[in-house]
């Protein structure tokens, strides 16, 4: 390999890199992380559709057990002299599509706020406005988190006997929804972290009209999260029951 160590242009660069160079590298990394996330999301949806397709013993939305009371209530009944009655086949219903889309909508709105904020920052160079937009987007995501937790709590559980004890178990549909919604929650928590970072950093002047690259980086990931929420909602609200 032939090398030339006396190139004047290179020598002047020293050890410092321009923000554009660093930004290009960071953008590539964000896209690569999104690529990994895409594989994970695809695998999750594959699991969801596969379980629905296989529908082992018709248990996609059905399970032998008890439903309607708390775990403690059933435990007390099991421990009483009467004991538990014979288990029945419990059918669970799909989660409310409207609520699912509401959470998605809120997530999409938060992405829109971040996107608009970034456009405003680049156009007006007003970091304080951007900081306000970042706070707003974070607050919207916080709302999405609360809604997601409500959604998680509505995933139906069934009281079943398992290995000489009793547990609250999930049908495969509920299991898949639990992990899909749980995955969305993890992403939303990450957005809160990023949103707080954007808000604080822009308030401190680290992100500004001239140094807006990190705002774009975060926006790319934010939009990806919103997009994945749309895809999950589209799949799980249109393909769920078995007729």
């Amino acid at each position: 390999m032939s090398i030339d160590t006396h190139d004047q242009h290179v020598a002047h660069e020293g050890h410092h890199e321009s923000p554009e160079v660093v930004d290009g590298r960071q953008r590539l990394a964000v896209w690569l992380f999104i690529g990994g996330d895409f594989v994970t999301l695809s695998a999750l949806l594959f699991a969801y559709l596969y379980l629905r397709g296989v529908n082992t013993d018709g248990h996609w939305m059905n399970m032998l057990g008890y439903q309607g009371h708390t775990f403690g209530w059933y435990e007390n009944l099991a421990g009483s002299a009467a004991g538990l009655p014979a288990p029945t086949l419990i059918h669970v219903h799909p989660l409310a599509a409207g609520f699912n889309w509401l959470v998605t909508l809120v997530t999409v709105i938060s992405a829109g706020v971040v996107w608009l904020g970034e456009r405003g920052l680049r156009a007006t160079k007003n970091a304080k406005s951007y900081s306000a937009m970042a706070w707003l987007a974070t607050a919207v995501v916080a709302v999405a988190i609360v809604l997601t937790i409500i959604q998680l709590r509505h995933i139906p559980q069934i009281f079943v006997a398992k290995n000489d004890s009793h547990v609250m178990a999930y049908t495969t549909y509920s299991s898949a929804m639990l992990v899909l919604i749980g995955s969305a929650l993890v992403h939303l928590l990450l957005l809160v972290f990023l949103g707080l970072g954007l808000a604080i950093r822009s308030a401190r002047g680290v992100i500004s009209g001239e140094k807006w690259h990190q705002a774009r980086l975060v926006r790319i990931f934010w939009v990806w999260v919103a997009l994945s929420a749309v895809v999950i909602s589209a799949v799980t609200t249109t393909v769920n029951t078995i007729h």
Partner: protein, 621 residues
């Protein structure tokens, strides 16, 4: 070109680094134990009403606590917290994190210098291989005679599982860990990895994962094999939880490392270092990293779902709840087969490098070599179901999967073509790296050919689940990848230490290991052909002789590895000085001083030709 580039870096100030000045491996251990205890204490009250303290959920929280505490203790959260607070690192902070002026202490810290991380990976790989190898010796000792009970059956099963996964993890990082960190950025003409802190994160996350994996040995037996498929895992206690969580944490490490590797190669190359001038090892690192980015999310998912099934009673893999073990098998092998090539490709790429330098010839058909690696990576994602031929899953897909598996032998054959083509009529320098490379070629032929047998469904139906399969993949991992990893170690050892790896001890090690591999695994093929099942602790007298021979072979391998360990330790301190470019190679890592300075180059070089153009005056007679 033999120019040595000098370097002068600014000194760090006394307050640089902040909290990191007080953080190291010791604080990481303390943090891990404390937070693990806290998580266990809380989880026991909230999630474990029975009060036994050892429910699956409690174990998972304990494991999460360990990981988070370890990260806090080592300093992994310092950067993100400073980012969110808008207090970015100064240049002095960066230099402190890079280990400037900290001597050997930097090897125990969250150091970002890629060369330090490379050395950390070398040591970590040896530790993992050492523990995994010790378990292998316990397994082979148990199998020395029928009915032998060196360890009881449950412990034996646990050793099988942990040995398997530990060795897989060790080999995933055996070449890519040390050398895609230590030499790859220099080969590209970069001052460091693209994201130095992520680099440190990937290494220390691996340490945290290893801690979780080794915990499985202490908390009961993991009698489910290393693939840990349901429903057999239902019989396993909390060891399974630590095992699954170790994998989840490990995938974080590999994902971060993969992103960093690709970003470094695509965005940090110096002027003139076009993709066509990239050293072939850099290509191998990039392709393996990309394949890992595709494969490891499946690993993350399958073990996460396993954890959920065990802790909150979802039904992904539980047939009575509507789940199916086939889902788990598919997700596992969607990761499992590409993972073989994540392990193999960097080793082969390192051997291409060694073959070129040691024969004073360019890499034969450079573009074909790259196409072979890309083709192998691409095909590897289409062959996963050959691991499931005997499970009954989708029999109609058996033919297509048999075909794709047999087609994959074409890019694998390209590897031989490139290696042999490079060496052909070359002026071969038979030094230690070359010797181990020839060992690789011999073993990889056996590994590859037996793989073709196993890809045929009728033969697989007979041999699946027998020791034949075990022997096949040990020829891949021990005979091929380990030999490639040792060749790479012998090749780049002088760049790390400034000293040669002891040639005499290295050759003794080579012959012991090479002979040991043939004795162990050829006999194991015979055991398999006679019908001996895998993963059993006691066997029929029918398999007595071949097992005795395998165990003798295994002890021979162990002797070879101990000699190699001795050679590494003594050579690191007392080996013959090598100078900056002992092999008269042309790639950039040999142009910098030895050991390379912090940030590698004072002035970034400009590349004007490829690294395999050997000039007449440098060709050895």
């Amino acid at each position: 070109m033999t120019t040595t580039l000098e370097h002068s870096a600014p000194k760090v100030t006394s307050k640089a680094g902040g909290l990191a000045r007080h953080q190291n491996f010791g604080t990481a251990l303390i943090g891990g134990v404390l937070v693990a205890w806290l998580a266990w204490f809380i989880a026991r009250r909230v999630c474990d009403p029975t009060g036994s303290g050892y429910s699956d959920l409690t174990a998972i929280w304990l494991g999460i606590g360990w990981t988070v505490g370890f990260w806090i203790g080592i300093g992994a959260f310092n950067g993100p917290l400073r980012w969110i607070a808008g207090r970015d690192h100064t240049r002095a902070d960066d230099l402190y994190y890079a280990g400037e002026g900290q001597g050997r202490a930097r090897y125990w810290k969250y150091t970002t210098d890629h060369k330090v991380v490379g050395v950390q990976y070398i040591v970590m790989t040896m530790v993992l291989l050492g523990v995994g190898g010790t378990l292998a010796m316990a397994i082979r000792t148990n199998l020395i005679a029928p009915g032998n009970h060196f360890v009881n059956q449950q412990v034996y099963n646990g050793f099988i599982a942990v040995h398997g996964m530990l060795m897989i993890l060790a080999l995933i990082v055996a070449v890519a860990g040390p050398w895609a960190n230590f030499v790859m950025p220099i080969m590209c003409g970069a001052r460091d990895m693209a994201f130095p802190r992520l680099n440190a994160l990937s290494f220390w996350t691996l340490v945290a994962a290893a801690g979780l994996l080794l915990t499985t040995l202490a908390v009961g037996s993991l009698d489910s094999g290393w693939v840990v498929l349901a429903p057999i895992t239902n019989q396993v206690g909390v060891a399974m939880d630590f095992f699954a969580l170790a994998i989840v944490v490990f995938t974080v490490s590999t994902t971060v490392a993969g992103v960093n590797t690709i970003a470094t190669i695509l965005t940090m190359r110096t002027k003139g270092m076009t993709l066509e001038r990239l050293p072939i090892f850099v290509w191998g690192s990039m392709i393996a990293a990309a394949l890992g980015l595709y494969a490891f999310p499946y690993f993350l998912l399958v073990e996460s779902l396993q954890i959920l099934d065990r802790t909150v009673f979802t039904s992904f893999f539980v047939a009575t709840g509507g789940g199916t073990g086939w889902l788990q098998a598919n997700l596992f092998w969607l990761m499992g087969h590409p993972e073989v090539y994540v392990i193999l490709i960097p080793a082969v790429a390192a051997l291409f490098e060694i073959a070129s330098v040691m024969s004073r010839k360019p890499v034969f058909s450079y573009r074909t070599a790259i196409a072979g690696m890309v083709g192998l990576a691409g095909l590897s994602i289409l062959v996963w179901a050959h691991h499931m031929f005997t499970t009954g899953w989708a029999p109609t897909l058996g033919g297509p999967f048999m075909l794709t598996t047999e087609i994959i032998s074409i890019p694998t054959g390209v590897f031989f073509l490139v290696l042999i083509g490079t060496l052909w009529r070359g002026n071969i320098w038979m030094k230690l790296p070359t010797v181990w490379m020839f060992g690789f070629i011999a073993n990889f032929i056996i590994a590859g050919i037996t793989g073709i047998y196993l890809s045929d469904i009728p033969i697989d139906n007979q041999l699946h689940g027998t020791m034949f399969v075990t022997a096949h993949f040990h020829y891949v991992f021990v005979g091929s990848v380990l030999f490639g990893a040792i060749a790479a170690l012998a090749f780049w050892f002088p760049k790390v230490t400034g000293r040669f790896l002891n040639e005499f001890q290295g050759r003794i090690s080579f012959w012991l290991t090479f002979v040991g591999v043939q004795v162990t695994f050829l006999a194991m093929f015979l055991s398999g052909l006679k019908g001996m099942p895998r993963r059993i602790s006691s066997y029929s007298i029918l398999f007595e002789h071949t097992n005795l021979i395998s165990t003798i072979g295994a002890y021979t391998i162990m002797s070879g590895m101990l000699v190699l360990l001795g050679a590494i330790i003594t050579s690191w301190r007392h080996g013959d000085p090598s100078g900056p470019n002992p092999w008269h190679a042309n790639s950039l890592e040999w142009m910098v001083s030895t050991p390379p300075p912090l940030e590698n180059f004072d002035v970034l070089p400009v590349i004007t030709e490829d690294p395999y153009t050997y000039r007449e005056e440098l060709v050895r007679s």
